[in-house]
C-alpha cells in the first residue's frame, strides 16, 4: 500500500498555516499520571527504601527483600561487558572513546577552568567552574533499552569531573540488558540500582538509606518518569524533558534518494509521534525520494511504526531555493538537521536554530546517534531556539568571584549606596558605606 505523505509547497498562499499544522505538537499532560507520580514521590520522601522496594516489587514484578539486593556490583558490570560478542563490544568501546574525545574537547574549548582578571585598583573579578558532586542517570528498561544513551549521559558527566555517577534502570520481571550493563561499565558509572519509575527519581532526588541523594538527574524515561522529574526540579537539577524525535533534511536534489529515504525512516522508526521532514527546491527529486520510500518501506522490520509516523507527522516540502530552505529550518529549529548538499557549509552558516547539524551527504543522522562523538541528547519540539545538546557544561556550574580591594571599595561603595537608596534598601547602602574611609 502506497504511503501517503503530506506535500507542501512554499509558494502556496496557505503555506505558513499548513506548515504550522504539521509542526503542531502539544505534549499531553496527563493529570492522572502527574498525580500518581506526585503520590509516589511523597511516599518515597516519607518512607525511603521501604517505599522504593514496594513500588519496585509491584511495578517490575520482583520479589526483592532489600534495596541493597537490587544493586549491581562493578564485577557484574564488567562480566556483562566481557560477555558481549567481540564485534559489539569493540563497537561500544569505539563509540565511547569518540564520545569521550569530543566532550574533552568541549570542556577544553568552553572554559572549563573559568576566568579571573584584575582591575587597576586591585579588585579581582572572575568565575570559578566546578563539577557537580553526584549525578543520577535514568536508563529506561524494557523495550526501549538503549546502551548508546548510557554512554551519551554518563561520559559528559565523567569528563566534567563528577565524582560519583549513580545509574538506575528498571528490570521488569528481573530481565537485565547486558548491553546496557556493559555500556555502564565502559562509561565508568559508579553504582547501578535496578529500580525505575517515579520511585527511582524520588530515591535519587531525596536520597534513601541505600540510594545516595544526587545533585542532578538526567536521562529519558516514560511519562511517569518525566512527571516525577518535573516535580523534583529545584531540589535537584534535571535535563530537558524530551519530546518526540525529529529529523529535518535539507537536500539540494543531488543525494541518492535511497539515502534520504532511509534517513527519514531512521527517525520515523523511533515511534509513531516522531517527525521526518524533507525540504528541497527540486520537485522531481522529491518524487524520487517518495518512490524510494515506497520501495524501501517493506524491507523495514519496523515498517508499521514508520508508516504511521510518516503518514501522520511527515512532510515533503518544495521550496523556491536553498536559501528559503534555511529560513524554514530556522523556523522549525529541528532536533536533527541534515544538510545534504554540495558545499553544505554555506547553508550551515545561515542556520541559527538546530540541535545538531549533519553536513554533507555522508553525515547520516545515525552516525551522530551512536559514534560520531557529539551528544545524541538534543533539544526537541523547537526548543533548539533556546536550548542546547547535553554537554559537559550540564555537569558543571559557575560561581562568581568578587574580591574588592580597599581602594575599589571606596569607588564602588559610593555607587552601590546611591543605587541602594534609590531602591529603598538602606542596610545595603550602610553595608557599603561602612567600608568608606
Amino acid at each position: 500500500m502506497t504511503i501517503q505523505i503530506r506535500k507542501l509547497d512554499s509558494t502556496a498562499a496557505d503555506f505558513k498555516t499548513r506548515l504550522s499544522a504539521v509542526l503542531a505538537f502539544e505534549a499531553s499532560e496527563d493529570e492522572a499520571i502527574d498525580r500518581a507520580a506526585a503520590q509516589i514521590l511523597a511516599d518515597v520522601k516519607a518512607r525511603g527504601d521501604a517505599a522504593v522496594l514496594e513500588y519496585t516489587n509491584r511495578f517490575d514484578k520482583l520479589d526483592a527483600q532489600t534495596i541493597g539486593s537490587l544493586e549491581i556490583g562493578k564485577e557484574e558490570l564488567q562480566a556483562a561487558l566481557d560477555g558481549l560478542a567481540p564485534a559489539r563490544r569493540a563497537a561500544l568501546q569505539t563509540a565511547a572513546d569518540r564520545v569521550r574525545a569530543y566532550h574533552e574537547r568541549q570542556k577544553q574549548e568552553t572554559g572549563g577552568d573559568g576566568f579571573r582578571y584584575t582591575e587597576a585598583d586591585g579588585t579581582v573579578l572572575g568565575q570559578k567552574v566546578t563539577p557537580l558532586d553526584r549525578v543520577g542517570i535514568y536508563v529506561p528498561g524494557g523495550k526501549a533499552a538503549y546502551p548508546s544513551s548510557v554512554l551519551m549521559n554518563a561520559i559528559p558527566a565523567k569528563v566534567a569531573g563528577v565524582q560519583e555517577i549513580i545509574m538506575v534502570v528498571p528490570t521488569p520481571n528481573g530481565v537485565k540488558n547486558e548491553l546496557v550493563l556493559g555500556a555502564a561499565s565502559i562509561a565508568g558509572v559508579d553504582r547501578v540500582f535496578t529500580i525505575g519509575g517515579a520511585q527511582a527519581v524520588g530515591a535519587l532526588a531525596y536520597g534513601t538509606a541505600s540510594v545516595p541523594q544526587v545533585d542532578k538527574i538526567v536521562g529519558p524515561g516514560n511519562a511517569y518518569v518525566a512527571a516525577a522529574k518535573r516535580r523534583v526540579f529545584g531540589i535537584v537539577g534535571i535535563d530537558m524533558i524530551a519530546g518526540p524525535s525529529e529529523i529535518l533534511v535539507l537536500c539540494d536534489g543531488s543525494t541518492d534518494p535511497d539515502w534520504v529515504a532511509m534517513d527519514l525512516f531512521s527517525q520515523a522508526e523511533h515511534d509513531e509521534l516522531a517527525q521526518s521532514i524533507l525540504v528541497c527546491p527540486d520537485d522531481a527529486y522529491i518524487a524520487r525520494v517518495e518512490a524510494s520510500i515506497n520501495k524501501l518501506l517493506d524491507t523495514m522490520p519496523r515498517k508499521e511504526v514508520i508508516r504511521t509516523s510518516l503518514t501522520n507527522r511527515g512532510a515533503l516540502v518544495k521550496v523556491r531555493d536553498m536559501q528559503e530552505a534555511c529560513d524554514i529550518a530556522n523556523l522549525i529549529a529541528a532536533e536533527h538537521l541534515e544538510i545534504s548538499a554540495d558545499d553544505p557549509q554555506q547553508w550551515a552558516d545561515r542556520i541559527r536554530h538546530a540541535g545538531a547539524m549533519f553536513l554533507g551527504r555522508f553525515s547520516s543522522e545515525s552516525l551522530g546517534d551512536y559514534c560520531a562523538g557529539p551528544n545524541h541528547v538534543l533539544p526537541t519540539s523547537r526548543t533548539a531556539r533556546f536550548s542546547s545538546p547535553l554537554g559537559v557544561y550540564d555537569f558543571q556550574k559557575r560561581s562568581s568571584i568578587i574580591y574588592v580591594s580597599e581602594a575599589g571599595a571606596q569607588t564602588l561603595g559610593k555607587v552601590a549606596a546611591e543605587l541602594a537608596y534609590g531602591e529603598g534598601l538602606q542596610a545595603h547602602a550602610a553595608s557599603a558605606e561602612l567600608r568608606l574611609k
Copy 2:
C-alpha cells in the same frame, strides 16, 4: 528589645540535625495560585491581546483601550533617564558599564564562538554557538521595583547578541518607576510594555497581535508569575525560579563586627524569609557581632523585616576552625558567600558550591548586588550545587556540527550499524550501511 538569634556549635552532638532545621525551607506551592495562573495563560493563548488587556485593566486598575497604548516608546525611556538626579543617573551608568564589561569578559572567556576540529580522515566535528533571537524580561512593579534587576537581566542578553529584548513591567494604578525606565534605556531594552502577572508571561510565551513571542523569559516576579513561568517552560526557556535570598558569612574573627552585622542585615532586609548566617571559629567574636546587631538594628528603617528574618531564619554558628567553616559552606551552597578573612583565597579554593563568593573584608555583598560587575541573579535554596549565576551563556545555545567525510562514513558506519542492530533499530543501521562502498 534584644534580638534572639539561634546559636549553633559544630561540636554539639545534634549539630547536623539543628543545621538542617535552620536550612529547611519548602517553597509552598499554592494550588489555587497555580490554577489561577493556568487559567489566565489559557485565556491569553486563546484570546491574545483582548485577554491581556482585560486582566491588566482589572489587576492593575487601569482603563487602557489597547495593548498598543500600554507600550512605552524609546523617547519616554530616554526622557525618564534624562529626568533622573545627576548622581543617580551617573551611578546607574557606572553600574551598567561595569556589568557590561564583566559579561563581555565572560563571553570571550567561555567559548562564545564555539569550536571545530578536523580528524585524520577529514571528518569535522564541532559546536556552533548562537544567541537567542528574542528575550522577554519580567520586571516587578509596585513595592519591589529594582532598576538593578533590569541591568542584570538585560545586559547579559545584549552582550550575548540577542536581537530584541522585550521588557514587561506592571504599573498598578498607572504609576511608573522612572528609575526602572531609565535603567531599561541604559541597558538597551528594545520595547517595554506596562503589563505584568501571568497575563504578561502568557503574552511573551505565546505572542499576541501586539506583543511578540519570545524564546526565553527571565526575571523575578510574584507567585503568579513564578507559577506561570513554570507552566510555559518548554514552550519558551525560563531562568531559575528564585527562592528567598541568602547570605552566609565565613569570618576568621578579625573583621569589624559592625561590618559583618550590617552585611547580615543587608540580606535580612529583603524579606522575612531571607536567611543570614554567620560561621566563625571564635566565640568571643560571635558575641561582638551579636552586640553590633543589637546596637545597629534600631538605626535601620526596615528593622522589623530584619528582626523577623534574623529571628526566624538567621543563625550564628561556632565552628572548630576555618576548614570546617568551608565544609559547612559547601553543605549550605549559599547564594551569597562572604569570606571575610585574611588571605581569603586559601578558603575560596576549598569552596565547591556557592552562587557568588565575596572575598576579603572589603567585598560587601551589596557591592555585588549593584555594581561590581558579576550578575546578581544567583541560585538560591542550595541550588548552587547544580546551577549558576545568570550569564551570557543563558542567552546563547549550542548546535553540534557533524560533517563526516566519505572515508569517515566507512569506519563510523560499521560501528553505528553494529550498535543500531543491538538496539533493534534497523533503519538506523541501513542508513549508515547505504553509505558504505
